[in-house]
Amino acid sequence: MTNAESFEAFVRRYQDMVFATAVRLLGNPADAEDAAQTVFLRAFERYAQLAGNPAAGGWLKTTARNVSLNHLSRYRARWRFFSEMDADRETGERYEDGLESQVSRAIEPLDDLDRRHRLEQAIHRLPDAQRVPLVLFHFEELGYDEIARVLGVSLAKVKTDIHRARQALRRVLTDDDAR
């Protein structure tokens, strides 16, 4: 097997895991595909150490997480400002209402899609500030403290954002159950 064939097999083996990490953090398949490509190019530069290494999966997952967070950090401050302009200052609930209506609109013509697909879509539609800590907690299995450190925000904000994200997802699930 040539080096290219070996690397192709390596990509086939890990591409779903890398893409899943990126798409859940970024909430956008196109950006996630770019991030996954960047991850595999970095892996190719270190392929001599990664090939056949049992730690390769962990390295790829960590790199996918870091590449995705770096991608988001370029836009985080700008996003945070404009998203807050849109939010209801009194209750802070308008975003979730908007999400619910967006998800409901998305669900209406897609009755045949299953509940898990709708939940995955709802995760993608969460704002970055809620989706990222939620994904880091539930899929990347980081603790609240570590999430706060990685994102450079306060522990209280991490807990609040994750709570809001869970509430938004629960509304989607409740709505789903009521259908």
Binding site: A4, R24, Q37, F81, A87, R89, R116, H138, R166, L169
Partner: protein, 134 residues
Amino acid sequence: MTPDNESELERIVAAELRQLPLPRAPETLLPRVMQAVEAAGERAWYAGPWLTWPVAAQLASIAIVAVLAYAGWRVPHAPPSVVAAMSTARVLWEALIQPLLPYLVAVMVLMGLACVVFGAALNYVLLERVEQRR
């Protein structure tokens, strides 16, 4: 929401999220990666990041930079043109720049401080205030 309700919400959401299948990579990803890898392979080794160079090339590059730095520091007999240029530069330095140097440094420091203050104020007004409203 009470802590009990919060932990219940966490449990419910975690249980639902655990059931989600792993999103599958699009079929376009593998060809894209292999194409990019092929392009990277065709690129000369020295066009890549220094950290990816072969060890021998890294050592050689360090040695060359060290020799050049030493040669620049200990030029034994500079040609007359170099000496003349250096003399001109020295005259310009002593006549024009050196007397004003303390003021230039002060202005640069003050401008730096002004930038820091302006940046901090902008960060507070645009970002932290909206953060606190959340």
